[in-house]
């Protein structure tokens, strides 16, 4: 069952993350500083954002799993299922999205070598490919409409539009995150560039994997 395993996963994550807890605190009171330590200039923990993105991903997984299970259920029980012919441009789009993920990893490697110029260039490439993917999805919609398939045509086309539409919406959020990493001046920000890039890349790769999953579902379940 989908829900059960996810809860277990989360519990594993919890065990892994010490939070503010961890080991016992050093014994206080010796230096007259009883019951408290002075709050220094606290750097917001980068772990907070990594934790946050993992949790957000779990939640989004649950959202799309509900939709996927509805698809599988309808496919199995419907007696008026009309097979779906996916628009051809969708395969090109998929390749573009995979390339975008690759470009992002290359760019993060550059960042690890402190090569911010190359990082920016490659990051732009990744972002541009992401935008290209979205445009390609619109072209796919156009092809689908020209072929005479609308949202209300049949069950399969309803699922096609809702899957691509909601994935596109989530991807749009990802593009905003990529643009933020591109244009933010990190000298003044609370997060460092590498943390922001890391968190954005988790989400981006997840969007990539999610798209492959949805496409496989639509293709195999047609």
């Amino acid at each position: 069952m989908a829900g059960t395993s996810i809860v277990e996963d989360i519990e594993l994550i919890i065990e892994d993350i010490g939070g503010g807890g961890g080991k016992n605190p050093p014994p206080g009171g010796d230096d007259g500083d009883e019951g408290g330590r002075r709050r220094g200039p606290q750097v917001p923990s980068s772990r907070r954002y990594a934790t946050a993105i993992v949790i957000a991903i779990v939640s989004i997984v649950m959202f799309f799993m509900a939709m996927a299970s509805a698809f599988i259920y309808t496919r199995a029980n419907s007696n008026r299922w009309v097979p779906l012919h996916l628009p051809s441009v969708i395969w090109v789009n998929t390749a573009i999205l995979l390339l975008s993920s690759g470009a992002m990893e290359l760019s993060r490697r550059r960042l690890a070598l402190a090569d911010v110029r190359q990082f920016r260039k490659l990051w732009f490439v990744a972002t541009a490919l992401g935008i290209l993917f979205l445009a390609g999805q619109l072209v796919a919609w156009r092809q689908f409409v020209l072929a005479g398939f609308y949202v209300s045509t049949n069950q399969a086309s309803s699922f096609f539009y809702i899957f691509t539409g909601l994935h596109g919406l989530h991807l749009l959020g990802g593009i905003c995150a990529l643009l933020y990493v591109s244009f933010r001046k990190f000298e003044k920000a609370k997060v460092s560039r590498s943390v922001a890039a890391e968190v954005a890349s988790y989400y981006w790769h997840f969007m990539d994997g999610l798209w492959v999953f949805l496409l496989a579902l639509l293709y195999l379940g047609k």
Binding site: I17, G19, G21, R39, R48, I60, M62, A66, T74
Partner: protein, 586 residues
């Protein structure tokens, strides 16, 4: 806009916030928590009035109430009334008050943090909740068809808000705990909020998906649930078996777990109150934490319990029945923990404690009738009859309300620096306690009477539709139903006592002496009342102890706050013992 910047201690003071920043756009966790509580208070009053209307309409259909008789006078209006009552109570009261209300206010304080992890997100979530309340209210007044679309959109918005809140709670608990606040040292309230946040994040995603499907069906004419053009040409049995079953699955996957979303924080609060006012540690604390976790886990696996009669695979009711019965295990562990805490304790019987004990009583009474409902053969015939209504109102609605009231009496001194009046509070407690039993216990009985009628009469009566009870209103159950209605009126009238007490105490209540009137151990009692904006000031608390160290060794009083270091002598003796142990090993 006030946004939290944890790195600004050395920076110059920000200018004092303007009016809007202090009110509408205040993203402080205490301000938001308090506003959620006000929202829940307004919703619960409205919801109670609606239930009053429903009872009156169902028992005395001819009666004319000035201004209000239009609501619920026709079957469609009556259905809308029920739906509005349910949405208000489940979403805006039971989901919101214990988690988003008290949780937002006290989670950062109890874990020693200064703010929630994402204050702006918290603010967005609050206003989305308000918007969904407005949407649900508007949906009640417009035409049924448009109203349903509006209602679905409002629920989707509420899901979104609940997801943001749950997300915030999870990250805050994982990442912002004070030094030394290890997982085993977290108070049970924090545990409950945390587990509940994870559970809500998973199930509200599913309801959101279902709402998106439904909205898309209604607005874009997609074909997920019930393409009407198709349905009109098909035999009814086919429609029943495929289309509606999908919605039922998605909805009940959410809705059964939603019961535990409402209850989990209440479990935490009740454990906390029982321990504090028994002056004893929570009995078997680890087992209680594990029970909370398993309530969350099992809550996921029981959605089929509501679908015994909707064409499932014949084996699955058996499985779901077993799974649903297994929820009794964590419930028993929690009950044992509560009774173990109370055992041989010097109980302080104030109003907060009374409400916590009332919760235990209601939970037990409502839970026992749940044992009948998990039996697939018994429950199959009882969809939406009064037995079920009595059961879930007792165990979920009223019990959770008691926990919320207990929490309010407990934390009121911290939030407003004044006490609620104890005499009025106890009077209110006893009237409500007797009242809810008089309302909901006879409902179980009514359900059983209806069963005996339905099973003895012919199929024609059962075919009348969802409520064959109307046809047998002349039976003895009519007087019982009138009794329930009178009891409802009296119970709701008793709530005036609470409102008076609440409003009077806000301005005239007895002022609290000191920071810690209940002599409690957790961190929120270590700051002044009401807590300052930055909670702990420049000194960040360090935690040295578990959350329930009452009557601990080596302390002068009968409790040890979590941030008090062990006395040097005690520590020395501990170190000495450790040294002895290590020499022995050698």
């Amino acid at each position: 806009m006030v946004t939290y910047d944890s790195g600004c201690t050395g920076a110059p003071e920000a200018p004092p916030p303007g009016f809007l920043a202090r009110t509408l756009f205040n993203s402080g966790h205490k301000a938001i928590g308090l506003r959620y509580l006000w929202l829940a208070l307004g919703s619960v009053l409205l919801g109670m009035l609606l239930s009053l209307l429903m009872r009156i309409h169902s028992v005395w259909p001819g009666v004319q109430i000035p201004f209000l008789s239009g609501f619920g006078s026709t079957p469609e209006r009556y259905t809308a009334l029920t739906m509005f009552h349910g949405s208000l109570m489940v979403f805006l009261v039971l989901t919101t008050a214990p988690q988003a209300g008290f949780g937002n206010y006290f989670l950062p304080l109890q874990i020693g943090a200064r703010e929630m992890a994402f204050p702006l997100m918290n603010l967005i979530s609050f206003w989305a909740t308000v918007a969904s309340l407005v949407g649900m209210t508007a949906a009640f007044f417009v035409q049924p068809d448009a109203g349903l679309t509006l209602w679905t959109a409002s629920v989707a918005l509420f899901c979104f808000a609940a997801l943001l809140t749950a997300f915030n709670f999870t990250v805050t608990t994982l990442d912002l705990r004070a030094k030394g606040m290890t997982l085993p040292r977290m108070p049970l309230t924090v545990w409950a909020w945390f587990i509940n946040a994870i559970l809500s994040m998973l199930i509200f995603s599913i309801l959101l998906a279902a709402c998106v499907f439904l909205l898309s069906d209604r607005l874009l004419a997609s074909q997920f649930f019930s393409p009407l053009a198709f349905l009109s040409r098909q035999p009814a049995s086919l429609v029943q078996s495929t289309m509606l079953s999908l919605w039922q699955r998605l909805f009940w996957f959410f809705a059964q777990a939603e019961v535990y979303v409402a209850m989990l924080p209440c479990f935490g609060i009740v454990s906390h109150l029982l321990s504090t006012f028994s002056r004893k540690p929570v009995w078997a604390e680890r087992a209680a934490v594990l029970a909370l976790c398993s309530v969350g886990l099992f809550g996921f696996c029981v959605w089929g319990q509501h679908m015994f009669s909707s064409g499932l695979n014949p084996w699955s009711p058996l499985v779901f029945s077993l799974l649903a019965s297994s929820l009794g295990l964590p419930a028993c562990v929690l009950l044992c923990s509560w009774f173990g805490t109370l055992w041989n304790a010097k109980i302080q019987l104030n109003t907060a404690m009374l409400f916590a004990l009332g919760f235990v009583s209601l939970f037990l009474a409502g839970g026992v009738s749940g044992l009948f409902l998990v039996r697939n053969d018994l429950a199959a015939a009882s969809i939406s009859d009064e037995f079920v209504t009595g059961h879930f109102h007792l165990v979920m609605g009223v019990a959770a309300t008691f926990a919320i009231l207990g929490a309010l009496f407990f934390w009121f001194p911290k939030i407003f620096a004044r006490h609620l009046n104890e005499t009025l509070g106890k009077l209110h407690f006893w009237l409500t306690f007797a009242g809810v039993y008089c309302v909901f216990m006879p409902m179980h009985w009514l359900g059983l009477i209806a069963h005996s009628h339905v099973s003895s009469s012919d199929a024609a009566v059962a075919a009348l539709g969802p409520s064959p009870l109307i046809s047998i209103s002349a039976s003895p159950s009519a007087s019982l139903r009138a009794f329930v209605t009178v009891a409802t009126i009296l119970t709701i009238a008793a709530q005036v006592l609470f409102l008076l007490n609440f409003i009077w105490s806000l301005w005239r209540g007895e002022k609290t002496e000191g920071r810690n009137p209940w002599r409690s151990t957790t961190l929120e009692w270590r700051v002044p009342s009401p807590p300052p904006i930055e909670n702990f000031g420049v000194r960040e608390p360090v935690v040295y102890r578990g959350a329930y160290e009452f009557a601990a060794a080596g302390v002068v009083e009968d409790f040890a706050p979590q941030d008090v270091a062990p006395a040097p002598s005690a520590r020395a003796s501990q170190m000495k013992q450790a040294a002895e142990a290590s020499t022995k090993e050698n």
